[in-house]
């Protein structure tokens, strides 16, 4: 599933701060948190692991079929908004 830019302005229901941590922690913790959330809710992840943003998150979210939106917030810093659809 390609990125959905309209998620950018959606207020998140849950947040996850994994700044400073490398794979597999950001995507594994996000996956765990998404499992506990209800369908329709949005998770916002704060990460500074570029390799996870480029590779791990898109592949995992494509597999889950969850729309997401990546925003670069600073040098090497990103927020990823993920909508749990089912």
């Amino acid at each position: 599933m390609p990125e959905e830019k309209n998620l950018e302005n959606v207020k998140p229901d849950e947040t996850l701060d994994v700044m400073g941590e490398t794979c597999p922690i950001p995507e594994a913790m996000a996956h765990k948190k998404l499992n506990k959330m209800k369908a329709g809710q949005v998770l916002e992840v704060y990460t500074d692991h570029a390799a996870a943003v480029e590779n791990s998150f898109p592949s995992m979210l494509n597999k889950l079929n969850y729309p997401y939106c990546v925003t670069k917030t600073g040098p090497g810093e990103f927020t990823i908004k993920i909508k749990k659809t089912s």
Partner: protein
């Protein structure tokens, strides 16, 4: 020009390229494995397969054409044995805990991840632990010298598949390279094609990634895995040829032993590493060195390669606007990385190398080391991923 100076100068430049390829290509074995297990994504693995495939084929051609004579190539081959299996399991679990293999560590630490600096510290501690305890207590050198599985049976010391399979035939290295290198490269090409087809289907339009682009050269975009893999192969060939044509010793890529050199530099002012300070051995085994530092040279070109690799990775991270000192919010990650680093260091020493020196270079040496290292490495990384998914 002094051949040693020339060797160090060229290896230093190769290290800068290697660092750029690692950082920009995101070339990390843990990242590749986690992405496959968690999301069936092969992008990073494709780069590694390109690196292995092209470099193994290149080494086969170099040796079969006699550019580097087989005798010189064999002189740098490590022995292989059960210790590859045991070491790779510990190493795989350790790098899995840290989220970075021995080479991935360089680009992460070089990009400012402080938890990977803790991993590096753990590796230095683990190497000392191995050098003064495991090495003498297990009489490790005896096992290295007496448990070589194949060629030793024929009276030789090292494993060199072309000789084992084809005797002294000059085309032997090329045929072995074609089998392994051809397999790796073909698998890499197949996985890339399959991934492009999958994305094209999802997007409803033809999808392709360029191997190289202006944005990659300007460090704006990450390198394609294929470019990262190609640069890996180029660096291995440069190091191999340089070492042979300068000081007449064919050197293979390695980053583990240089970490031991760092230990030696740190410890040398405080203790004499190179004399017998205590002797542990089973009575039925021959007397050997009392610590690991006694059997390895301290000043080696690969140490400069590792330092230059750090410099290359840091430079491209800065140029790409991605360098930042990153401190994990959860401070327990420092402990996890320290423990993981110790396992990384001990495992790599037991296996006589890491994912670079034993796995990749094992294939470049046409020895059994790479094949023995691979299965338990993957098992270790898998167990570490499952462990972390369970606890975090």
């Amino acid at each position: 020009m002094n051949p040693y100076f020339l060797e160090y100068a060229i290896v230093g430049i190769a290290g800068l390229i290697f660092g750029a390829a690692l950082e920009r290509g995101r070339m990390c074995f843990v990242l590749a494995t986690n992405n496959i297990i968690m999301a069936k994504d092969t992008k990073i693995l494709e780069g590694i397969l390109w690196a292995f495939g092209i470099s193994v084929l290149a080494f086969g051609i170099i040796e079969s054409l006699g550019i580097v004579p087989i005798q010189a190539a064999v002189a740098g081959v490590f022995p292989s044995g059960w210790y590859d299996l045991v070491g790779a399991l510990l190493f795989g679990f350790g790098i899995g805990l840290c989220g970075a293999c021995m080479s991935g560590l360089i680009f992460r630490a070089g990009s400012g991840f402080t938890q990977n600096w803790m991993q590096l510290f753990g590796i230095l501690v683990g190497t000392i632990f191995f050098a003064f305890l495991i090495f003498p207590l297990t009489n490790f050198l005896y096992w290295i010298l007496h448990t070589v599985p194949w060629l030793a049976l024929k009276g030789g010391l090292y494993d060199y598949m072309p000789h084992e399979w084809f005797g002294n035939a000059i085309w032997g290295p090329f045929v072995v390279a074609l089998i392994f290198g051809g397999f790796f490269w073909a698998l890499g090409l197949y996985l890339t094609k399959k991934r492009f087809a999958k994305i094209s289907k999802e997007r409803g339009e033809q999808y392709k990634e360029p191997i190289i682009s202006w944005n990659m050269l300007k460090f704006k975009d990450a390198f394609s895995p294929r470019l990262g893999g190609l640069l890996f192969a180029v660096v291995a060939v440069i190091v191999f040829l340089t070492s042979y044509f300068t000081v007449h010793k064919a050197a293979y890529m390695g980053v583990t032993t240089p970490y031991g050199s760092f230990d030696a530099y740190i410890l040398a002012p405080f203790i004499n590493l190179f004399t017998t300070v205590g002797h542990y051995k089973a009575s039925f085994l021959p007397k050997i060195s009392s610590n690991w530092f006694q059997i390895v040279p301290v000043a080696i070109p690969m140490t400069l390669l590792v330092i230059a690799t750090f410099a290359g990775a840091t430079t491209t991270a800065i140029l790409g606007g991605e360098f930042k000192w990153r401190v994990p919010k959860r401070k327990i990650m420092f402990l996890q990385n320290f423990i993981g680093g110790i396992l990384t260091g001990v495992g790599a020493r037991i296996a006589l190398g890491c994912n670079i020196g034993t796995l990749w270079s094992g294939f470049l040496m046409f020895s059994w080391a790479g094949l023995l290292f691979l299965p338990t490495l993957v098992l270790g990384m898998y167990l570490a991923l499952k462990f972390q998914q369970a606890i975090w």
